[in-house]
Symmetry: C2
Subunit: 412 residues, 2 copies
């Protein structure tokens, strides 16, 4: 059912429209803001004055003028607000602090000891976050909140992790509530792929994109879709499961019950498994000595480094993974016709060039509408800490990005 809109909703929306125009530019004048947003000069002027008074934006000197009245440049005040991002990966916890521009100011990363209780882990993460803020000397009243990212599925309303892949004792963990108690800050929870996409939108390749997809290659494979300027979550908040797109109908079994899902063919674990299988057959490889010393030493990092250095065995397996990822990218182009597909997560480290080349080639030659519109691809610059950074920018995004949905949200 559609909901109506009213004046207060419109007011907040327009403030965020102005702020978003300023955030998307390095320096912008009031006149340009009016031109870009379609708002009147008077509305822009009132909103800018309020944002200046609140210290959210600042004047950064005169803009070059082509005659006429000089124009004052406006930009976001980097120290107007801060946010904390925490990424709970099945294997490690990453914690970052960002400023208002989404720039990483500080970071901590810790492996998760096997079997650690969620409550203990969350309390430890909160403690680290507070230490980072203390070291940076950030005034606590300027910290907007904590964003927490986990591999899905997540109950976003309740801020609960429903389950954590590969960590059976993480079931129905009230992560939002626990983090709020430990930090005294507002907490937002989302899945890691959505968080990474929001990070990309706030300060990465998605900065000017209304429509892009994010393929998140972490311990598992997830996806996020930023459509019409919003994360598209689906009716049960389970959209974006790109890891379960079938790329090989008779391929390896997947934990979802299917066969040949991207998740079953291209995770770090399956890549390592495939390379070890080749090495066990005695194929010549620069990894042979390592494998003979201890097969466990042939991990994903070793495989990716070997592939980047043109080792035949490693390269074949990585190339095949790249082709499957390209198949998924072509499907995204055909179905969603987005502007951009971003690849991110720790799975792309060392092999980003290989993945990007194969995906770009496929996007240029295979989607039906390739001659009308070629979908671009890019590697997230936040590969190693993308989800933690994204979780932090999720806080900024929630506070400051214009939300069309809020115009029509139901508040009776």
């Amino acid at each position: 059912m559609f909901s109506g809109t009213n004046l207060p909703k419109v007011g907040t929306y327009n403030v965020n429209v102005v702020l978003s125009a300023i955030q998307a530019s390095e320096d912008i004048s009031r006149v340009e803001i009016a031109q870009r947003t379609g708002l009147t000069a008077q509305t822009v002027s009132v909103i800018v004055r309020r944002l200046l008074e609140q210290g959210i934006i600042q004047e950064s000197g005169p803009l070059p003028s082509a005659g006429g009245k000089p124009r004052t440049a406006l930009r976001v005040n980097p120290s107007a607000a801060y946010a904390v991002g925490i990424h709970f990966d099945p294997l490690e916890v990453s914690i970052v602090v960002v400023d208002m521009l989404g720039r990483e100011l500080s970071r901590s990363r810790n492996e998760i000891p096997a079997g650690r209780e969620p409550e203990v882990l969350i309390a430890e993460a909160a403690k680290v976050a507070q230490e980072l803020l203390h070291e940076l000397d950030v005034p606590i009243e300027r910290v907007l909140g904590v964003g927490a990212a986990c591999p899905g599925p997540i109950d976003q309303d309740e801020g609960q992790v429903i389950s954590l892949p590969r960590n059976d004792h993480w079931t129905d963990v009230p992560i939002k509530h626990l983090l709020q108690e430990c930090t005294g800050l507002d907490v937002i929870v989302d899945n890691d792929a959505n968080a990474a996409a929001i990070g990309e939108r706030w300060s990465g390749h998605g900065r000017d994109c209304s429509d892009f997809a994010f393929l998140y290659l972490g311990t598992g494979i997830g996806g996020a879709m930023f459509l019409s300027n919003h994360i598209y979550r689906g009716v049960s908040l389970n959209a974006g499961e790109l890891g379960h797109v079938v790329v090989e109908p008779n391929g390896a079994p997947c934990y979802c019950g299917g066969r040949g899902c991207l998740e079953a063919m291209c995770t770090t674990a399956s890549i390592v498994r495939d390379v070890r299988a080749e090495l066990a057959l005695g194929r010549a490889s620069s990894l042979t000595a390592l494998y003979k010393a201890n097969p466990e030493l042939v991990d994903h990092t070793a495989v990716c480094l070997a592939a980047a250095a043109h080792d035949g065995v490693a390269r074949r397996v990585i190339d095949r993974a790249a082709d499957y990822i390209a198949d998924c990218a072509v499907m995204i182009a055909n179905v969603l016709d987005v502007e951009l597909i971003v690849l991110g997560g720790k799975g792309v480290i060392h092999v980003a060039d290989i993945y990007l080349q194969r995906v770009c080639e496929a996007l240029q030659t295979r989607p039906l509408a390739r001659r009308v519109h070629t979908v671009r691809a890019a590697i997230s610059a936040m590969a190693s800490s993308g989800a933690a950074l994204g979780a932090a920018t999720l806080v900024l995004h929630t506070a400051f990005a214009p939300d069309t949905a809020s115009l029509t949200s139901f508040d009776v």
Copy 2:
């Protein structure tokens, strides 16, 4: 870039929110409209008065009351407005007239003679539309416009058909302009799958759905995605190409240049081809006599009727098509997490039950989030005239449905 909003935009939006609430119900009171939309009683009252004065809605008597002030039921006036829908399929033209409720009042359907020039065909269709309106005695001032649906790709802004599959001389046809000239009415052009989806939303299974996908099995295979209450079109208006989802990586070559696309495996033509190939091998079938008389007589209708009557050969081919369609449905569920997937188009006639059963089974057992949320499937009740009906409701939808995008559209 985000655009600002203002009061006139909000006013139009709220009128359409109220109308949409009335359209979605059989009978509804002012109080219920306020409850469902979040608008104030006063706003609802003002808008309802205006809609009554304009004859767009009508009072339909008192509602059963639980004591207190009696409530008057409101409903849409079916004869408030009419619309014409024209579907240009590669093989035939269908023309319908609908009332304000999207109900089909009249229909005409004509095969397209081979090589017919687009200009001639469009003029003929316009003439038929005018005859239908005349026979129905519809006042021309109540006809809101003409919706035209074609197999994509379409330049929606210009109202041009960029190209029509299997009709090489249909290139850059200015269909909107030509139809406007011939009919003197406003014209909207969209692809057949989007039109069918809008029809489904206005008066079919999608009536209460904010998020559903439409798999259109016509002469070709197309798709449409209704996400967050709008047709999602993608950045170059080429989203929804579900026909080019790969369901068999080493399958038959597709005209897009790929292999094993749904379009290459499951069109009416490929189904017929596969059945004829089996019959040529001498497989026992109820179609054998027909095939021996003339292989051309074994067309898609004959195959589907035979499959429905449990003929082994026809059933095997239809079952395999159903499985491919189910694979595509599972992908849609995993990626888009919609509420509903509708199958429509003439390709489902006679085999709807087979397709629906396989798709429902797959949706219940395969998507990752199936335990949290099972995506439903349904067969469009408008299988034979869906795109023409949809094209007509496209006119109603454009005129009357609340368009969040209009709140923030750029009108300088």
